[in-house]
Structure formats: C-alpha cells, structure tokens
Point group: D2
Amino acid sequence: MSEIREECGIFGIYKQGADDSYCAAMTYTGLMALQHRGQEACGIAVNNNRELSFYKGMGLVDRVFNDERINKLRGQMAIGHVMYSADGGSHSANAQPLALNYAKGSLAIAHNGSIINADELRREYEQNGAIYQTTSDVEVIAYTIARHRIAAGSIEKAVAEAMHKLKGVYSLILISPRKMVAARDPIGLRPLCIGRKADGAIVFASETCALDVVGAAFERDIEPGEIVCVEDGVVSSNRDMCGQKSHLCVFEHVYFARPDSVIEGQLVNDARRISGALLAQSAPVDADVVIGVPDSGIPAALGYAEESGVQYVEGFGKNRYAGRTFIRPDQISREEAVRLKLNPIRRYVEGKRVVMVDDSIVRGTTMGIIVNFLRNAGAKEVHLRISSPPFLHPCYYGTNVTSVDQLIFSEHTLEEVCSILGADSLAFLRFEDLHKIAPDYRSGFCEACFTGEYPIK
Amino acid sequence: MSEIREECGIFGIYKQGADDSYCAAMTYTGLMALQHRGQEACGIAVNNNRELSFYKGMGLVDRVFNDERINKLRGQMAIGHVMYSADGGSHSANAQPLALNYAKGSLAIAHNGSIINADELRREYEQNGAIYQTTSDVEVIAYTIARHRIAAGSIEKAVAEAMHKLKGVYSLILISPRKMVAARDPIGLRPLCIGRKADGAIVFASETCALDVVGAAFERDIEPGEIVCVEDGVVSSNRDMCGQKSHLCVFEHVYFARPDSVIEGQLVNDARRISGALLAQSAPVDADVVIGVPDSGIPAALGYAEESGVQYVEGFGKNRYAGRTFIRPDQISREEAVRLKLNPIRRYVEGKRVVMVDDSIVRGTTMGIIVNFLRNAGAKEVHLRISSPPFLHPCYYGTNVTSVDQLIFSEHTLEEVCSILGADSLAFLRFEDLHKIAPDYRSGFCEACFTGEYPIK
Amino acid sequence: MSEIREECGIFGIYKQGADDSYCAAMTYTGLMALQHRGQEACGIAVNNNRELSFYKGMGLVDRVFNDERINKLRGQMAIGHVMYSADGGSHSANAQPLALNYAKGSLAIAHNGSIINADELRREYEQNGAIYQTTSDVEVIAYTIARHRIAAGSIEKAVAEAMHKLKGVYSLILISPRKMVAARDPIGLRPLCIGRKADGAIVFASETCALDVVGAAFERDIEPGEIVCVEDGVVSSNRDMCGQKSHLCVFEHVYFARPDSVIEGQLVNDARRISGALLAQSAPVDADVVIGVPDSGIPAALGYAEESGVQYVEGFGKNRYAGRTFIRPDQISREEAVRLKLNPIRRYVEGKRVVMVDDSIVRGTTMGIIVNFLRNAGAKEVHLRISSPPFLHPCYYGTNVTSVDQLIFSEHTLEEVCSILGADSLAFLRFEDLHKIAPDYRSGFCEACFTGEYPIK
Amino acid sequence: MSEIREECGIFGIYKQGADDSYCAAMTYTGLMALQHRGQEACGIAVNNNRELSFYKGMGLVDRVFNDERINKLRGQMAIGHVMYSADGGSHSANAQPLALNYAKGSLAIAHNGSIINADELRREYEQNGAIYQTTSDVEVIAYTIARHRIAAGSIEKAVAEAMHKLKGVYSLILISPRKMVAARDPIGLRPLCIGRKADGAIVFASETCALDVVGAAFERDIEPGEIVCVEDGVVSSNRDMCGQKSHLCVFEHVYFARPDSVIEGQLVNDARRISGALLAQSAPVDADVVIGVPDSGIPAALGYAEESGVQYVEGFGKNRYAGRTFIRPDQISREEAVRLKLNPIRRYVEGKRVVMVDDSIVRGTTMGIIVNFLRNAGAKEVHLRISSPPFLHPCYYGTNVTSVDQLIFSEHTLEEVCSILGADSLAFLRFEDLHKIAPDYRSGFCEACFTGEYPIK
C-alpha cells in the first residue's frame, strides 16, 4: 500500500559451458523473486557463443515468459531485469536489458538506479552524432561504456572508465561476447550481491532472496565502487573506485526489499522489527492493540508489540489477488479499491485504542482512507506510528517520488498531517534512531529524503 | 501451500430499480474478495428488465472482466461465481453462473457445493428427454428447479420442492425474471450470508469479507435449510426445511475462508489463533522459535507462540507474485518452484529448535520439501504442529480431495509420516479440541474427513 | 460486399480406427475451405472411444485453433462448424457443434439451416422440463433427437423420427458414441455432399470445395430427405423421406457458395457466368467496358462480356486484408471503409460507359457508394446489371435478411432504386431465366425471396 | 503464391494544424492499403507539438491497431510502415518507423529499400561510439542523417548530405519536430508518390492505391533523387540529385504492387495484361483454356487470352482466409496447405490443354505442386507461361531472394525446370519485351535479377 516505489531489480548468471536454456530459466526464477522491485516490464538477454538474443515485454515475469520463450534463450550467460515504470514513446521501448551492437561486438546491460548527469552526457554524445531510441538512463550508460571500450583494452576497463564519467547511483550487470561484468556505484546506494551455486554457476542479484530461489549460496555484497568481472569462469575484481563513504538507500530496509533478503549484513525483516521496537520506546502510547499495514508494516508492528507489551493482532484481511497491477474499473470508487486490498477486521478494532504501524507517509491519501476504515469499524483511538522519519525531500535516485508536490510534509506540519489523516496521534521513527535498524552496518545510509542532504550533486 | 482446495465462491446483489451496471460492478468487487475460493473460471449474470445476460471466462476475475464487459451487464440483479476447477468438455463449459431459459422465462444460478444424488437425478431426467451440456451439478440443480417450477406457483416454491429432491451440500443464489433467491442446504455445510448496503441494496455472499468490500453491513448467516427470496425489494424467508442438525465444514475455519470473514459468529482468524493455542497446550515442545506456513498457518503460529511463550518469528519470505495459478516452467524443479513461493529465512532458523505450524497434511509432498528447506537452513530440530486433526477420509462435499489415494494417512502411521516428512516430532489438533476453535458455535462441524462419518448418505 | 449472408457451414469426417488427431486436422482444413459461410465463431467436436471432446471459440478458424488445440481432439469421428452470427447471451454460447450428454450417451451436432417450428417445439419441451442454454435452433434439434432416441432403437431411427417433427430447412451432421449421421431436410434447401478419401475416410461437407481440400473424391449430394449413417466404416442410407419436390436455395449459386464448388451437378462459377450471359441477352446496353463487383460479381461480369462482346476489365483494386470481419475504426467514414475494400481503377472507367455486374441488391447502401466512386472516377454512364431477380421478400431459412425493412424494394420501385443508386440503368436477371443458370438441375429452386411463395409454412 | 516478397510499404501525411488523431487514422487507412507490401509488423509515429509518439507491433495493421491506440496518436504529421520480415534480436526490435531523439530533437523514419554500404557505414560510426539496437538499415540511415544534421542548417539539408553518403535503394519518409521530408534514391528503384486531399492534407505513399483510399488526388511520383520537404504546409523540392538514369524495380509491375496502383505513369494491372499479351505473341500454344495463378497471374492470363483467342477461365477456387500469414498446422501437408489456398476447378481443366500463367519462378516448389494438381484434375497438357524473364540472379535491393541457392535456374536449364515442374512446355516473357509492359515509361528498369547487371555496386 506504500506510495513510494522502487524502480528496478536486476539478476545475472554465468554458468561456464552451458549451451542450453539453463541460464535463462535461472534468470526467470531470479526475476520472479525480484518481482516486488518492478511489475510493469521485464526482460532477459543471453549470450550464446557470442550471439546475443533477448526477449522483453510489458507485464509480470510469468506473463511475459513461458517455456517456449525461455527455451529459445540459450547460452552460458544471462541477465534479467524487472522494471516498475516503462514510460517513454512506445509500449516497451524502455524495457531492459538494453541489447546492442557496437564496435566491439554485442552488449546487453541491466541497470538499477539513476544517472544524475544523464542529460549532460546525452548532449555531449549527441554532438558526436548519437541517437537515442529510449528515454532511459541505461542508454546513456551504454553509450558511455561503448565509447570508452573503443580505446580501452577490455570491457571491464571500459566500465571502469565509464564509472568515472557517470555521476549517480547504479547497480548494473552486463554481458559482452565473452564476459559478464557487474558493478556498483561508489556510494553503494542500490544493493547488489554475488553468490555461487553448487554446480559452479556464478550469480548476481539485487537481493539475496533471488540467490536463495536459484539455490545459490550468498558470498558477499558487491562493494560500493567495485567492478566484478567473470571470464572463463574466473571471477576478478577491480576495487580502484572503492573506499568512498557509502550511502545505502535506507528505504531498502524500510520498504523496498523483501523481508527475507539480507543487505549489507542486515536481515531486512529484522531491520523492520527493530524500527518498530524503537518506535515503541520513543513514541509509546496507552493502547489495546497494535496492527500493521501489510506487508512492510507487519514486522514493524510485531516489533512494536514485542517491545511495548501491547497485543499484536492481524488487523486486516488482505486480498492477495488485488496486487499493485490491479486496475480499478471505473465504477469502483477509490475507497472500494483500497478496501479490496485491505479489509479491517472489526472484531479486532471495535471499541479499541489502536496503534497502527506503517512504513512511511508520502502523500498520505491511502493512509487517510485506512484510518477512516478503522474509525468506521469502531476504533476508539487510532495512533499512527511510522517506521521511518518524515519524508521531506524528493528522491532523485531511482524512485517515483521525484517532486516536492508529492509530499504532504511540504505543505503541512506534523500536527496538520495528523489531523488530515484523522489520527489521534502520529509519530515517526526518530532520525537519530535510524542507524540502529541495522546495528552492524558501519557505513551511512542515504537519508536525503529526510534531510535534503544529497550524497551526490 | 495447502493441498486441499475449496471449489467455489458465490455472490449476489439486488438493488431495486438499478438499470445500469452498478450491480455488475459490485459483483465484480465481491468476486475479487472471494477469489481465494476459486481461481480458474468466473462469471457474472444480470437480469435487466427480465432479460438475462452474462459473461463467463477462464482465469482470474480481473483478467476475465474489464470496464467494457462490466458496463454491458446492466440491471437490478446480478449474481457471480468463482470456481476452482472447470473440467469438462470445453474450455469454459462448466463455468458458472449457469444461464438458461425454460418454461417460466430465464434463470441464472450460481452454486457452491456438491449434489450427492446428481447421477441418479441426471438419469431420471434423461428418461424424460433431458440433455446435458456440462458435467456440473448446477445443471442438475437447474433441471430440478425448472421441472418443479412448471407446477409450483413461484420460483421460491420451486426451489423449496427442488431442495427436497436434491441430496447434498449446496449454497446457491439464483435470479429469475423478477426475483433473487438464495438457499442453503439443510445441514449448512457451505457458508452463505446476507447483508445490506446503506443504499438499500441486498447482498448475498459466501463470506462476510465480500460484504465488507462492497460496503454492505452483515445482517446474518442464511440458516441451514433456509430459502431467502427478494421480490420488489422485500426480503422474505422460508424456514420449513430448517431445524436439522447442522454441519459446517470445519475446513472453512481451518483453511478455506479468508481470516477476516466471520462464519456462524466466529471470526476465522480467531479460530486459527485458538487452534494454535490448543496445539501449544496439547502438544508442547521445548523450542526456540515458532513459525507458520503462510498464509493459513500464520495465525495458528501466533496463537501457538502466545500460548507457549516461545518466540514467534516470520520464518519465510513469501513471493506474492507466484500464486496458485503460477505455472512452473519445464526447466524449474519442484523444489525450486516451492522455494519461489516460500523462502525460509536462515537467520531465524539456523541452529534453532523450530516449531512449524501448518493447517493440514493431505499428501504431504510440499511439507516434506519445506522441512528439508529448514534443515538446509540449519534448523537443529523441526517440530510440526498441524492445526486440524489427521485427514483420514476423502471429502465428497465440494473439495478436490475425493480419493483415498490422495491421503498419506491411508498408507502410513503417524510415526511413518513424521519420518517421511523428516520432522523431529509431529502433532495434530486433538479431535476433541475441534469444537473449541469456534466456542460460541452451538452446532456441529462436518468432521467426515477426520472420522469417516458422513452427515449425508 | 454483398448484403445478404449465409449463416453456417458444416463438415464431418469418419476414419475408422483413427485414434489420433487426424480427423480433427482434416476438419480444420475443411472448415478453412468453408470459412466463407461463417466468420464469427467455429468449433470442432470429436468422439474418441465414446468420449466426446470439443473446442469452440469466437473468430476465424485459424485464430481459434492451433496445433495444440487440434492435437487434443482425438478419435475416429470429427464434426465441425463455422457460423456467421453468434448472438445470444454470451460470447460463445451459441457456437456449434452443440455437444451434450443424454440418456444414450454423448452426442455432438452441427447444423446449417433454420427450424420454422422451433418456438413451438421449444414450448412443448419446456412443459416437460427442458432448459435452454442457447438461443440456437440446434438445441431444439438436439432435444427432438434425444427424446426420440429414448424409445427408438438407434440414433439413425431417432433422427428419422425427429425429422418428421422438425419443420424447416437443415443440413446436419452428428456423432453419437459409435456412429456418424448426416441428414438433409426433405426440400434440400441447404447443400450437403459426401465424399471419400483414398485412405477410406468418409467425408461430409456443405460444399464440394471442402472435399477437395481434404483430398476426398466427391461421391454425390446427400438427397433431400435422406439420412446417411456411418457405422463400423459402413455407409447406409434411409431414403424414406426422400421424394418431395426439392427447393435448393438459389442464392447458393448466386452468392453464398464458393465458385469452385459443385452443387447438385452445377459448378457454381458456371452458374454465375451463365447468369451474366443471360443478362447480356435480356438487358443489353451500348457500353465500353464491363466490370464486376468482387468476388461473386466477377464471373457474372465475365459471362456478360463474353456474351455481349463488350470488353471485360478488372474495374476494382481489392484489399484482401480488409475482409468481412474488418472492424472500421471510429475515425474512418463508411465511404473510406468501402474504398479500403474496393478501389475503382480510374483508367478503366474514366470517360467510359460502364456496365457493372453484381449479385444482388438488398438495402443497396454499399452499391450506392460504389456507383458514386465510379462517377467520381469519371465514368460517363453506369449501368447496373444484377445477376439475380429483385429481392422482394424476407428469407426465413437461415440468412440475415429476415425483415422486410432490410429490402429497398419494399419501399421503392425499380425506377426509384435506379435513381437512388445513381445509376443510368438498372436491370435484373429475369425470373423466367433463373432455372437456366443450372441447366441440368431438374428440381426447383427456392425462390421465396423473389416470389414470396415459401416452400415451407 | 509467389516466392518473392517485397519487404516494406511506407506512408506519410501532413495536415497543418491538426491536433487530433486524424493523421494517425489516415495513416492506418493508408497502411491497410499497403498491407500487401508487408504483413509481419507495422507501426505509426506522430509528431504532436514537437513531441514524438509511436506504436509498433507484430502482425497485420488491423490487429496491431485499434481505436484506442490510434486515438492516442495525435498531431499534424504521421508516418507509417508495414514490413514483411522483422528479424533481429527481439520480437519487434526491427519494426519501423524508427523513432529517436538526437541533437536536434526528435526524428521518426520509415524506410523501404536496402542500403548497400550499410556495414561499412555502421563500422565507421561505431568508431565514433555508435551503438545499434536493431539490425535494420534504417538505423544506419538515422545515424547518417543525425550526424549531418548537427552541422547542416536544416533537416532537409541533412537528408541531402546523407544521401550522398548512402549507397543503395531507398524510399523514405521522416518527421522532424516541424517538418516532414520524403526522399527517393537517385535511381528510383522503389516507388514513392505524393498526393493531396481536398482538405489540404499532403500525402506520401509507396503506391497510389494508398492515396486513393485516403481520398487524396495523385499529384506525381517523387523523382528519383528528389527530396521533398513540407514545412508550415508548404511543399518544396530539392532536385540536386535528380537526373541519373533511373531503374525502377520491374517486379513492382510484375508482382509487388497492387493492380490498381499507377507507377511512373503505368497502371500495374495494364502492365500485367500487356505481359500476358506479349507471351501470347512470343510463346503461342495450341490450347483449350488459359488460367492464371491468383492474384498477380490473373491479369496476365486475361491478356494472354485476349491476344491469343484462347478462352480464359477462372481455373482456381481461392481461399481468401488462408493468406500469407496463414500458419500451417503440423498435421497438414504442404500439398494440403497449397490446396487450401488454391483449388483447381476440375470442370475447367479435365481433358483440356491448359495454359497456366504466373508471374515468376524462383524456387518453383509451389508451382510444381500446382501443376500436379492440374494433372490430377485431368488436364491433358499444361503449358506454363511466365510473365517475366527467368530469375537468374539474387536481388540485393530489399526482397527476400538474396541468395543464389533460392533460384532453381542456378542449378537447372530451362528444359530441366520444365521437366521438374512436370509441365509440357515452359516459356518466359522475352527479355527484349520487358520494356513494353510500361510503354510510356522512358527510363530503364532494374533488371539485375535477369541479367546480373546491378545498377549499384
């Protein structure tokens, strides 16, 4: 039910010598596990004896792909991509991976992030005659790598040179005729990890849950600034760009990532539990029950309940068939559509003082509807507890919250918001508690949405 | 992940004087809320000034219907149906509602249940020249009602006479040219309830969650044996067949129904919590964590944890995009497919003594895979706790478990099953505790699957 | 471009012992050849060891069926149906074959025609409890056969008894568990023929062109009133109902049938050529060129040219991609849609006195547009010659022209019509010449649409 | 039934000030008329107040587009493309128009032809960092124009400079933010014409039949080498590159173009008639009937009959539902598939000496099957007359006959071919008669497929 959305998930697998659709099938499985990171378009590219082939389409992974399409994608390397938003001129022009041919053969790239100086680079290349068939940053990345590759001795060197030129956040995986290369921007804003299957296949993924489903053992997170290259089955690393202060997007823990993923050593589900416990400490309230807004609010609510001793109840019936891609027919009101997804259980809230935990407030429209549901179901009091600090500034690093207009806090004080939402009280995770949700993580989070201090630019 | 499946959900709405697609849109919404009762086919029929029209198709409600199709379905009465299995000759021949014309005009019927003497009746009618275009019991119901209607003075009387002839379990809703009729078999095996919207619309549904999503206030359950008729906006009841001992299917509480539904006065989620608590009492175990198999095992696990004091943790990452209708590609193994849906969280089980709560064991194949996942994730001990008694006998009342071959307990003892599943211990809800999961429910459950004592025939 | 439409085509094949999809594949091929008789829905039913299976859908044969669907239809008997109009309650409820189970097992029926006393029979059966799931006459036929079959000793006897009861026109093919039966109404209004393949397979079809495409040699037309039964590979005939005066629909020759079909001994293309020649004799005109309206007007135009000595030219460019099922987008006018299908060639008509030959005038709307096209292309004179007599009375025997409102001649004289269409002259095939288009055909045509004398009722 | 295929058709319309979907709807209509030039993919691009939008897809025009999609394409300029073959990496990567952004804004290009030095240019641009997302020549054209546009003062100047660089054959239409530009290669191998609607809209199309269907009056053919630019509703021309000897592809007259199109002053249908008449003169034969292989063989057969005095008959029943895109199911043999499309009429050939006229012989497989059909239908003699000279050399200018392996004449003499095809005699249009099929056309044809003398390279 959250109003902020992650834009992409990426996956790659290298299984030396494979000449069937094994890699494509594993990529399909990995993308299924990353589907929460993007539901509007997806694609898989493979390299089969230096010949690139791919398939992309609009929709969920298991709609776009079937046996027939997977079976046609053969070779020892595959990469895949799921995407939230495929805007741009055509129905699928912006879908990834971007597959292309250039001076040194073929290339396919899957990218998660946002290039801050994309417009600048686009203009620079245009002066050399570049043409753009998408509006996606990945095309700018592709040009940058392709241009450097002409002089650079190898694709991995070209990637290194390109990274000096690209400002922004990105986790990317690419396949050249003979190699697979994965890289993460120097501040490590988006996650990327590497694992290995018992059969020797090397796997890259946005989240560890995708390693799990393909049966790969987690090895480690790719380091911020690191470039990993797989060639002839051998993995090598270039860490020349490592060592900057890193800034993992805190919303990966708060909302984006799957609870069973481990990012930079922290289990996401635990991060959410801890945030709930911290809320119970900093913003306690005399209440009868704690409920969580599914799905990301549930572990935080459990943490709140555990810490506060207030009883946790499952406050909502959830419709698992009315997902993010559910299209509301004309005749159905916005309220009815929300209730289709989230039906408050009267018996658990009637006559009760209710603490409701959710991950964030951006515009707040849906939350206002839900609070109203609880009132109508007889809740005596509704206390909102939000497992992240107030969202005050737009995000330019690959989410959908790119404008200050989308933020209720740009126009209203905390008291006003509490009143607009119809709640009895409203409290947020304290900014100073933020680092505690991942206690062993030594680096800093990107907290720009809370502070306005952007780590890049 | 359960291996037993409910076959159908039904919905009906009567809004006097409506001549647009309001009723169809509400039925769409109601069917969305009942989608968990059947995902393979669905349909909506309306009566517009005595003219019947309908649309049916294979697939989920939001795939089969769109604005255009709903807008064509106009009139003051609508009924809808979701179905698990549409077997039979054609791609959608068995989908419901069944719409037909007969001596007294048109009729559309939606049915949830199973007619035990269907073959016998079928043969009887055949001798009078009946032809069957489906293999569904609803066609037999239709013939029975149609035949009695010729002499009976009204459709509701015809339904009453038909009910004397039909042996079996059924909840049904039908629309005649002027009336809507809802009925429930005398033992009340399948649920059916009635509610009312603020605008006066009268609503029938398999579960209260469907009343909630259309904004209808729950009025009451239809009584076992009751026939409700809506004519000119007035609701009347025939209770001549009421008064038998009723036998609600206990699996509605254990697994079929949505946790936010209230059946015969009992909130389903609470029934599950209680069953977990009862398990903690009757089959305690020295353990570190309690986990539940999503979705129906979760409230039972919470109940177990609460009662036992053992910590509840969310043991699995769940993929909400790999639903029941997910088709596993050839190249993906059964294990990989299960892991796509259910990924154990290593940090919560590694080195731990784990209690895992699930709703039932039929064949047990998937559960064996899950136990194995837990072992591979480092669980020291795995104790299975099942929130219903052992499933020993087939069900003939509208589920998919119709043969003794499907039951692991038909061939193995409890000890053998425990060993086959790879668990350290295995315990079930005690049969004598069963009635406690709905403490205020005065009638008996159908417990045939546990006892072999079938309430009908 | 014609305004009258045939409603159906039927096909059947019996290949003793076949247990694969051979019969279904041949039926697919046969239906492709009969596609001109109906484009809105189609279906195939097979009987495999007494088990009926079928597939039906909306759309053209090669859209509804594919390898996968054909491969599932196995057995030694198959029947198929193409249909022009699938009206009625649902998207495909009225599609054929109608597949059913009844007292004596399964039955599938494909029917081309119209039952005049259908309403009367429907009411009679309703009094015995019949229910109707379609609005199609074939369901009435099915009930009639099923009822008689209970007492009759065999399916073919039941068909014979049913034929005494059914008033109307029909060609039908059915499959029972062991037999295939084909029958034609006693006046033989719709065509039906039988052929045989070198491998022994017996084939029935509406037109001989369907025999040709499956490689079957034409044996003979089924006689009006004849019932043919195939059992254990042996063909037998019941001719008890033969011998009435027959009345083949003359529009089969004029427009409906494919030019390469032979009906009652007459090649359709020749019938059309002759009608053109007869027009040249009875309604000559001083002209420069003769053109035909594709497709059925072409052979008549060639015949006119040959007889008159006026030069034949191909007056229109035709778009073979804008077929009958082409849906005109909103923004495209009716004139533009006609021109998409039929583009007059200016060089052939500019400054010329043009004779344009077409098959019939019903409402005349399209013809008025075409005449206007010719004027705009510079034709000096436009003389319309119609290869059938004036259409004065509705047809109740299975076409779409069922109402007098559809007929321009119901409101206007010949002179008025000529003026409305913008032609310089207008002449029709003389009624007394009609029998000459099939010179060897000894029986009479149904000429009700010209005379109002209906052979039935 | 021909074995050679044209690759593309293009269309463009400029209607000053239009801000609705008028231009897109007209383009839809025009593409419908050009559908015979390509059935596998199609697309439309519009420019709406300098903002480019487009939609492309696989399949026929009336499948890819519907009202909804057309209505979204708004603006005063639209171009469209139909394509025979969309090979390359993805399902629709190579579909056109190619839409792009570059230094000077947006550009969409639709192209019909083949760039001979594409590989060379591709390599040149790659050294400057170009990346290629398709395997289509249009991307090379786009780069060439984009690169020159950076320095050139206008898009039309950039096109002119690009044309100096591009070697090959091309007719192309493009839209820039403010202008529409159409150009034809200096030897004018592919056709392109311009017309004007009464409402002032300016229309470009591959063939005049597309002007006709949108109601545009033909103005003239674009000259070989000419660049036409429309700006602010004013049409201007750059003829600097005009004046070379032109070489229209003779197969446009023989087979590719629609019979109602006029190319370089010659009506295509007449060109075919004349070729038939010439064959009657140069290769007469004592025969009973002349038949033509639909569709392109028909006018040639009529011409042959007229000239020789031998009777013309319509020798084949044709299935207009089994078009080029018809996919033959596995169970149907190649012969059956051919017969589905073309059913010889026995009565017209049995016992007859038959002259059969077709447009060309490439591999000859289908023709062999057809000759065999005629034999089986009882033809006493079969004399093949081909309305073009023997096809001896591959075509590199935008057809599918790109390899000598596809040509039966590469391996066999005329006598051998006659024998392989099973004919009694075989004769071709004499090479020296070729120019006579378009008597008023002063320039030369491209005759490379007959002579091996390629006008370019």
